[in-house]
Point group: C2
Chain length 436, copies 2
């Protein structure tokens, strides 16, 4: 296990980063909608993007850039228009926005990475965006992470931010991140964006490798409704400003950094799952005894993503049958005599057979997990499809009291976790009552 | 395209079959819960079963039987207890029920196939079942299909039954079927059971091959919430009582029979999707231009199964963005410039870009698909988790007016269809408000 401590500062906690978030008039609501993260020096850049065949222009743009070049200075993110399914014009808009911010920052456009979130099929309002860039750059600051976190959200109920610090030798090394996402494509909104900054010095291929590993154990292990977005992007920068020795191969220091990166990504991923539309609780599924990690995660994710499991947990029903059924259809071979299911402290099923348990107590356990209450004036049903509601009150993120589901499928070494949220009336309400 | 006509009679439409359905006291409600289908002579038997790693005892029993022997005389089905996740005792109960009905029918137990549906983790009430067998056998009749169809349902709102007839030479050949399922595992209820009878003479391997093909294009192409049950079973008998020449290899007659079998299975599968919990309409997705049939079906099924697409259709929102996003994440490669999406008569998206369309008219198209209204005294929200509600009024199945979604992904030869239903408040209500 790595050793680290939580610090404040989000993406500006690491040395050599500034950020800003402003109102550029992209969202109909007039709320903040344009964010910028800048590294003072060239940073090693890595990315993980949506696997969808229908990709936003910014995703195509970033992928092309990162294929040939592993260095970036800036990440520009707009909220309001996804710039997905916008054809050739969408790519032209993406390129134009990169050129414009590069000009403002006095860098070359190939050092700019892009992200967009908003309505699919809508182009970026490029004039409004361009006009706002001087102010955006003027507001860049070493305490700008919160403003940036605020400007990238769309239907999120809370902002998502974290920073951790460890030591390499006697010098501190920091990783911070911000994210947006209600865990799924909301009425044409992009699912999830996450931006991570690090001040360690890491070689490009190793940094990409670390990020891919961290993403598998975090963003790729959350599920709200199984829908993958056109715009999903995770971008991570490492700029070496910690002045620690360069990490160029795996070893204790690389492993520690990977673990801290994974922790940052997991925190943000859990925050997205917890903020799933209509969700009343966070669900964490821990699978052990599988043949390998991949198999364990696959089972965990299938359980966390089962509509029936999710609806049962919303109903505070300790329904082991649905958990067993979801495990069984995960596409992973196991002997059902080896299946064991535990909910919190309650062992419900072992050796292929149901056990007697205190149902009232198990249901009470589920009830305590739903202790999430919103501040006055801000409710879970406050959903503004047009992004125009009063979204100025942002509740703090709460990841305590998850519902814990433990599943063992045998004696194998593979363990894995996945996170999700329950399925409530509000999920259907939010996703059905959007009228075009 | 094969030629056939619809006839009445369900599983007793084909020659040489009798069926019965009675109240055996297995369901807490006291409603019919035990069904029997018998062929007068040995029938060729084929089966397709759940792919879940957690299988009911009856599924294990049938699979073992069909591995060595391709002949059966009877199908015994109980509703109320799934006999899944019941360990060794579950298998003993299954064997005991086969022995008991075989004794009653004066046949050997290895000619009996079994099916169960109901609460996972509950054993069959074997004494009640055994006591009811003499009455069940006494009630066997050539008009007993409806009674059997009534006795296999659990939370279904309607019974599902169909029979078709074609000619081989100048003699009629018939295939009939009954099914149960609300398209998913309801509060621990098994998803779907379907029993098909045919009076053609077909060789065992060919009959299994036909059934597998038909299942892929029907039951394996429906989705309500992605949950697969522990008890899913499709069993088909062919007893040769049509007195038509034996079909032993593929050719025009075999193809015609396969098509008619597929049509029977598709009707039953659509009926299950339409009866999805809380559903207000049937959704049919037709994909063309894929590389092959499998890829096309995969895309169709991903769209039909997307929670976001389903919620949009419940909200009567012509939301092409969600359809595009679902197509993109189906795991099938295509160029997004080739993507075309049409909803009913409305072309929404072509060449990778959204088109202008009459949104009010498209929404009106979706509204007409929801014209399903239940008879007085019987509503869609009448859901009896304990199977004890007044479920005596069974509404007729209506498969007219599906919502049609056409998606083209290129110029390939692959076409495929899938069916689903919309996602409504009632789905969550039904699946959350079950308390153990």
């Amino acid at each position: 296990m790595g050793e680290w401590r939580e610090i404040s500062g989000g993406v500006t906690a690491a040395r050599g980063y500034r950020a800003a978030g402003i109102k550029a008039g992209l969202k109909p609501s007039g709320l903040p909608d344009l964010a910028l993260i800048v590294s003072d020096v060239d940073a090693i850049a890595a990315g993980v993007f949506t696997t969808s065949q229908v990709k936003a222009a910014c995703v195509e743009y970033d992928r092309q850039l990162l294929q040939t070049k592993h260095i970036a200075r800036a990440i520009l993110c707009n909220a309001g228009q996804a710039n997905a399914a916008t054809g050739e014009q969408g790519m032209k808009d993406a390129q134009a926005s990169a050129v414009a911010i590069a000009h403002e920052l006095n860098i070359t456009p190939d050092l700019v990475l892009l992200a967009s979130t908003g309505v699919i099929g809508q182009r970026i309002k490029i004039d409004a965006l361009t006009s706002a860039l001087p102010q955006l750059v003027a507001e860049l600051s070493e305490t700008g992470s919160d403003a940036a976190a605020r400007a990238i959200i769309t239907t999120d109920l809370v902002t998502k931010s974290i920073a951790l610090e460890t030591n390499i030798g006697d010098r501190p090394v920091r990783i911070g991140g911000i994210a947006k996402g209600s865990g799924m494509i909301h009425p044409n909104m992009a699912t999830m964006l996450a931006f991570v900054t690090c001040d360690a010095a890491v070689s490009p291929s190793l940094w990409q490798q670390m990020l891919t590993k961290a993403a598998d154990k975090s963003f790729n292990s959350i599920t709200v409704d199984g829908d993958t977005s056109t715009n999903d992007s995770l971008i991570a920068l490492a700029n070496g400003q910690s002045r620690t020795p360069a990490i160029t191969e795996m070893g204790p220091e690389a492993e520690n950094l990977t673990e801290m990166l994974t922790e940052v990504c997991q925190y943000l991923a859990k925050a997205i799952a917890r903020d799933g539309e209509g969700a009343t609780c966070l669900i964490e599924v821990r699978v052990t005894g599988a043949q390998n990690e991949l198999a364990a995660r696959q089972i965990a994710k299938t359980i966390a993503g089962s509509s029936l499991v999710k609806a049962a947990i919303f109903g505070r029903d300790p329904n082991w049958g649905r958990i067993a059924a979801a495990a069984g259809r995960a596409g992973v071979t196991f002997e059902q005599e080896n299946l064991k299911i535990q909910l919190g402290d309650f062992l419900l099923f072992a050796q292929g057979q149901p056990l007697a348990f205190d149902k009232a107590a198990a249901s009470a356990y589920l009830k305590q997990a739903a202790g999430y209450s919103f501040p006055e004036g801000f409710t879970a049903t406050d959903n503004s499809n047009d992004l125009s509601g009063d979204r100025t009150k942002i509740a703090p993120q709460r990841l305590n009291n998850p519902v814990l589901i433990y599943v063992s499928v045998g004696n194998g070494p593979g363990t894995g976790k996945a996170w999700g949220c329950d399925l409530s009336y509000d999920y259907v309400k939010i996703n059905a009552e959007y009228t075009t």
